[in-house]
Symmetry: D2
Subunit: 292 residues, 4 copies
Amino acid sequence: MSRIGFIGLGIMGGPMAANLVAAGHEVTGYNRSRAKVDRLVQQGGTAAATVAEAVRGADVVVTMLPDSPDVEAVVTAEDGVLAHLPAGTLLIDFSTIRPDVARQVAEAAADKGVRMLDAPVSGGEPKAVDGTLSIMAGGSEDTFAAAREVLDVVGSTIVHVGPAGAGQTVKAANQLMVAGNIGLLAEALVFLESYGVDTKAGLEVLGGGLAGSAVLDAKGSKMRDREFGPGFRLELHHKDMGIVQAAAREAGLTIPLGSLVSQLVAAANAQGDGALDHSGLLRQINNLNGRD
Amino acid sequence: MSRIGFIGLGIMGGPMAANLVAAGHEVTGYNRSRAKVDRLVQQGGTAAATVAEAVRGADVVVTMLPDSPDVEAVVTAEDGVLAHLPAGTLLIDFSTIRPDVARQVAEAAADKGVRMLDAPVSGGEPKAVDGTLSIMAGGSEDTFAAAREVLDVVGSTIVHVGPAGAGQTVKAANQLMVAGNIGLLAEALVFLESYGVDTKAGLEVLGGGLAGSAVLDAKGSKMRDREFGPGFRLELHHKDMGIVQAAAREAGLTIPLGSLVSQLVAAANAQGDGALDHSGLLRQINNLNGRD
Amino acid sequence: MSRIGFIGLGIMGGPMAANLVAAGHEVTGYNRSRAKVDRLVQQGGTAAATVAEAVRGADVVVTMLPDSPDVEAVVTAEDGVLAHLPAGTLLIDFSTIRPDVARQVAEAAADKGVRMLDAPVSGGEPKAVDGTLSIMAGGSEDTFAAAREVLDVVGSTIVHVGPAGAGQTVKAANQLMVAGNIGLLAEALVFLESYGVDTKAGLEVLGGGLAGSAVLDAKGSKMRDREFGPGFRLELHHKDMGIVQAAAREAGLTIPLGSLVSQLVAAANAQGDGALDHSGLLRQINNLNGRD
Amino acid sequence: MSRIGFIGLGIMGGPMAANLVAAGHEVTGYNRSRAKVDRLVQQGGTAAATVAEAVRGADVVVTMLPDSPDVEAVVTAEDGVLAHLPAGTLLIDFSTIRPDVARQVAEAAADKGVRMLDAPVSGGEPKAVDGTLSIMAGGSEDTFAAAREVLDVVGSTIVHVGPAGAGQTVKAANQLMVAGNIGLLAEALVFLESYGVDTKAGLEVLGGGLAGSAVLDAKGSKMRDREFGPGFRLELHHKDMGIVQAAAREAGLTIPLGSLVSQLVAAANAQGDGALDHSGLLRQINNLNGRD
């Protein structure tokens, strides 16, 4: 069992930390909002009042934060994680951030002798609670091996996809494909509806062939029914498409479809739909077509 | 058992007609190239030298032709199918054509008392040979019911999706989604490769989550290996995207992603890749990025 | 002076025919709506009750019709213009239609010994009234020379741009660039406004440099003021973008920006803005951004 | 006459500094490459070995640097411009950078009592040499007025477009429109060429109507002749489109055409055309179409 410092106890980080406690680890948690730390204490964890306190004496430090600047601030800042970690410690970042920032943070960690893994997850709150997240990990083989005892608690599909930053790259590719698939499904739906097709039967036959996808399975009938209740919020997908575009630019890449779907997601956000599930992108396609 | 007039014995129509013969139907076939008619005769069918000869005395007429103008020429032209069919006959068009043309042809058929079904298929040559095509049928309930004895021989997933033209609409939506999914996967692959990610592991984890799709399952590893051997040719998908765009314009619809992917498919075609499998769209995305 | 049969006396054709009368030509006009023919008679022309009547005895036949199918119907149909014209007559089509249709009609004319010029115009109703249209003419040098006496009456910038169809090709390119320039200006305006820039000063400096354009000069300040009173209607530009896309597909071309701006124009139309001036495309860009 | 500290003596900054010397100002210049400082000395300026030395005792400090991080490094860094300037000094930044960075730097300057103007220019090296640049200035009225004695020396069209950052916003809009206009012209050219139109005559008539633009006037015939000799390099326009996209995201804006043209510029860059004039974007459109 390990002593784990856990920073970032939000919607995702909270249940992940709880699962680590339940698995027998000694977890000390820090979060800007004290209420979330209290909940961890009730679940058997220990409270930390500062980042420094959370990471003191830890074998493993885990971060689960909203965006690239947050990870930079918490990990590499003057009084941040790296300032307090001895060489040899393991640092796992579950946040979804820019691949180039992930690489820079990993280099800063390496300079201190700290082994780092970027390990963004997919699956959302339900899978965080169940400990069945998908995890895309970037870092050395050794670091990945060392992290397995933590990864195995929070995830079920756990894949090592390459060196530092590779986890974030795969996560970015994931978000690009998911947004694109939602957009294509939205266009197909508008197309079918405008021609008066039976969309229930239509989606059934589409889903059974080469047009089939996890997005169609998970979102198709909800999109037909205009049910966009919270799941993965459009505003978060908008943030993630920003990562995709920044990473493409960083690598000198052209991704025309990814770029266009980013624009559509940005439009949905600008029109006030940021709090909907990302399948709510259908509303944007409908709007373009003067429909509901 | 029925007497079937079958017009269009190409890569798809040939095996479909053979399966109808094998199922015990009396099939009279016509094709512009005589060699294909001869093959049907060897398989137990009867040769026709003209469209008129093929449809004379038939209970059911089947067409499987390349594009909208071909269907118009064969069905509604002066000496075409409708000129020779008595009221009450059943006409099944398996071709992939424009929804509005399908509706017009169905109306011309109705004027003659001929019941028509638009029934485009997906699955390609292998499933045509196996009799396991997916079929999206448009027409009245009665016509669909009457056509089942033929449809059940050539297909396994057979869905009635709405009135005349609806089959073509769903097929167009299918082609839109498939092209889009290939394009997105191509962009994701270029993205992963440019960042030095292990793409085998990367595609595995992408395929297991919300980014998963039939395209990724069927084409992912071939695209990694740059294997674009014949399957569904890009030049046919280019033709189909023309149908998608024409149908969108006909309905006054905006489909931004579909429109952009149409442009990418057109570019691939213009660059000489028309004979590759449609997954060869990856070459176009690579080319945009100065890569192979 | 010539005897001219003029078919299509609408918003553009009406004043063009009147100018030809005023220039001393003997003009016999036909239009589906009789009121427009009566107006020509008041202006000194002669009424025709049918196409046949209009073209009988004419040295030159002029057509000014809404779209490709209209030109096909009037010129090549069974009782159309070509059925009544002797060899050697000159046929000038001022309509904006598809380049490939223009070529086909020119070939049908050539088969009858009729010399044809495709001569689409730009400049709108005011320049039609003033006889100062821009004319892009396609056809042989001889035909162009023969047509000058007519062209000089209705236009001021008159350029021979190539063989049959070339006039329509240039007109299509014109509509592509104009729609694109309006779209870009709309995006620039939204950008400036959202940053609180003084847009009057901003457009002034933009107009004075490499970003300057006829669109900015003619439409910039009206777009700032949200004045979209009738000029060239969006729904006509939507029709023209259909020609652009059909012509690109016919030639196997990829035009990504043209394709995207077509989608934006289609969206504006779908949202009910078809009757606005095409600068009203700004409303579509604003809408995408949740703005007015 | 003023004492001016001038930082950044490159292709643009060099002649601008020389013009300030020629106008009677006392100019102390700094550049990372010493050779460029020496040239200024030959032209009558004074050499500085560090930023601190350049700005010491200056009434006005001028910066002309490649990109946002350069301006941040030179102006706000620990030993940067602001560390050495007394309150009341005037700071003019002629660089093209992100509007939000311009605003942040202006705020940092204001904290020190330094008045700042963002004043990006357009017109390229020839107009820098002639002192006839277009200048888009953002800052307070007072600061703009105080800067006029410098601005009037280097530019001829000088417009105050709003508060801090507004100059950069207008410059970004300029670059968006210019890239878009080049892309549209490229698509129009490919379209005309593929149809065998006389492009000289075609561009003439396009340029005379609503499709006319400064880009067509300046680049049209060169693009016809495939002359892409150095002017404004594609790689710089690629950098500027990065600013456009970052600024759009910062403001929560959707700019679909700007986003697509950014992708085309990025592709041209990825394909190795970065050193060509930006009109070389034609090569990218040709490439998409399998043409030269």
